[in-house]
Symmetry: C2
Subunit: 358 residues, 2 copies
């Protein structure tokens, strides 16, 4: 599409998928689903819409080399480097400037590097619809139909219907709500007016930069200075506020639209058990990723192997268990407790030799 | 002790402790309990009673080299090689001849190579008492107090009390009963007259060889011929009956005594869950062997690691689970289903690549 760019946000860290994710191996670099990393999958699903020159990646210097090696077709100049993690707002401001240099009339789709999207054709279709709406001047967010009252996602309340394009309904976004408490989340799911905030946005660069100028004027003014003197970026960054695009810009922005992007079969893969929801289980309800498995009486379990060597995982009579087998760490836990991986990570931080496994 | 020899029976195979036990790595060569193999532990616990010259090992040629390397202090000539597995009766006949060559007045304690004995001092004490009784001409068996109605062990019914020596009561053995059905096993436990058959025996070589001459005369006659012509062993062996010492000799023998060797904290370690019974669990009921473990909300579980590399096993919220982590196979199963390891082995035999893991 002319004037269209994708910006893949690939700067995140995170430990929710330990032991596969590590300090130097963030979620976007993991082969969670098989033989491709999440970043590779994120880039590859864009191929029908964007040429490599149209795909930018915003990340930290620490991750950039690895990401470039994962997708060597992307031009090196398309890697936008944040000097330090400051949240999505500064990262996307930097990215918007990079797009504007390429095309002052550019539109940018801000996409995630580590999410699962089951129906990729439908995803590209909603991106094209969203680009059309963004062309009208809207800041477009993609919403996800909530399937349960999650307290881990943000919510977007729909306002007035704006239009229907290509079968996609477009609404004015009435309100953003960060991770709610359970009663509020339950109300959001019940009222049918709320979508999960997917963290994916589509807008014209002139529109988003105008919002930065209005809502984060100090940061934006400093940022413009580096257009003339790029070597000043580190210092600008040091003084930049740390904030998300949702909180820093979207909540106070004009002309915000939401497209409920239902049917994508989307997940942020926030914990190991979510792989059991998004990947196709076998007839016993098991999901085996990259491993050789022999199960007797085994049901509803995730077997995830990234142990390099030839290796068999045998299970007898286990149900709803998560087994993650890496070179140097083995994790075993019931699927409903896979969020507690964080507690293991915290415990390791306190152990003398724990650093070896983080 | 003068005239006393130990014969360690180390020829067995078996797959009940797969994936640690393999076709070429039988149970006696496993480090089930830590950094020593079961065979090493079996030899070392005899040190206060027997010099290395007094310890013989009967095994197959396939295992002998490995066993010799495990215990280099044992003289090479003390390894008695069965040409093929034929059960304990032929193996012990061959061993008895080897002892008789060393000492026609010798006594031999026939001991196992792969059992757990928690109270080693008590074990040596009952061996010394049994040797005394054997010196009177009895074929002595060590019994074990049954703790549940096992259908996997043989039972020995006690007859008349014979004597008490060193605090150990000695009874005439009234009857041997191979692995009974459950109702019979329950009756044996309830009547208080039965011991489990530990498979350990103590006798004078002249007495046991007289029983062979009487009860297995054809085999015994052929066996005597090889005293003059050892190169004939393979052929004698080919025609030897396959039978156990219990069935072939003890059930029909004269002057059989049983000493209830209670308090040894004995186990044949017939399946993984038995390690949870014999090893001292930590305050959460877990047993960790040779591994680095971090458990959150983990109870009653066995973590057995023989994975060579530096490696952490993390568990969250699991109870009564068996985790056996080897170089090339990981086994996970509830402790009450650890006997079903055999079914996994059978399933592997049918798989194209299963042989790699057997």
């Amino acid at each position: 599409m002319d004037h269209d760019y994708a910006v893949i946000m690939a700067g995140g860290g995170g430990t929710r998928l330990w032991p596969l994710s590590r300090q130097d191996r963030p979620k976007q670099s993991l082969k969670l689903l098989g033989d491709r990393t999440m970043f590779q999958l994120s880039v590859e699903r864009l191929a029908p819409l964007f040429s490599p020159e149209q795909i930018l990646v915003v990340t930290s210097a620490a991750y950039a080399l690895d990401l470039r090696q994962q997708c060597p077709s992307l031009p090196e100049a398309n890697f936008v480097l944040e000097p330090a993690p400051k949240g999505t707002a500064p990262a996307l401001a930097l990215s918007a400037l990079a797009v504007r240099r390429r095309d002052p009339e550019g539109r940018m789709a801000c996409l995630t590097a580590d999410h699962f999207i089951g129906d990729e054709a439908r995803f590209r279709d909603v991106l094209a619809a969203a680009a059309h709406v963004a062309g009208q001047g809207f800041l477009v967010t993609l919403g996800i139909k909530p399937t349960y009252p999650s307290t881990g996602y943000g919510y977007i309340q729909r306002g007035a219907a704006l239009q229907t394009i290509g079968g996609w309904e477009v609404f004015r976004a009435a309100r953003f709500k960060e991770k709610p408490k359970l009663p509020e989340a339950e109300a959001f799911v019940a009222d049918g007016l709320h979508s999960w905030n997917s963290g994916m946005f589509i807008w014209r660069v002139d529109r988003i930069l105008a919002e930065f100028a209005r809502q984060m004027p100090g940061f934006y003014r400093r940022l413009l200075e580096i257009e003339a003197a790029p070597e000043a970026l580190a210092q600008v960054w040091e003084n930049a506020p740390t904030t998300t695009i949702d909180y820093g810009i979207m909540e106070g922005a004009d002309e915000v639209a939401v497209i409920p992007a239902d049917g994508l079969h989307w997940s942020d893969i926030g914990s190991w058990d979510s792989l059991l929801e998004v990947l196709a289980p076998d007839e016993a309800g098991n999901v085996v990723v990259s491993g050789e498995h022999l199960g007797l009486g085994t049901r509803g379990s995730l077997i995830h192997s990234s142990h390099g060597a030839r290796r068999l995982i045998a299970t007898i009579g286990v149900s709803n268990l998560v087994i993650v087998d890496t070179e140097d760490v083995l994790l075993v836990c019931p699927r409903e407790r896979s969020q507690e991986v964080r507690a293991v990570v915290e415990a390791l931080k306190k152990r003398a030799d724990g650093q070896n496994y983080l």
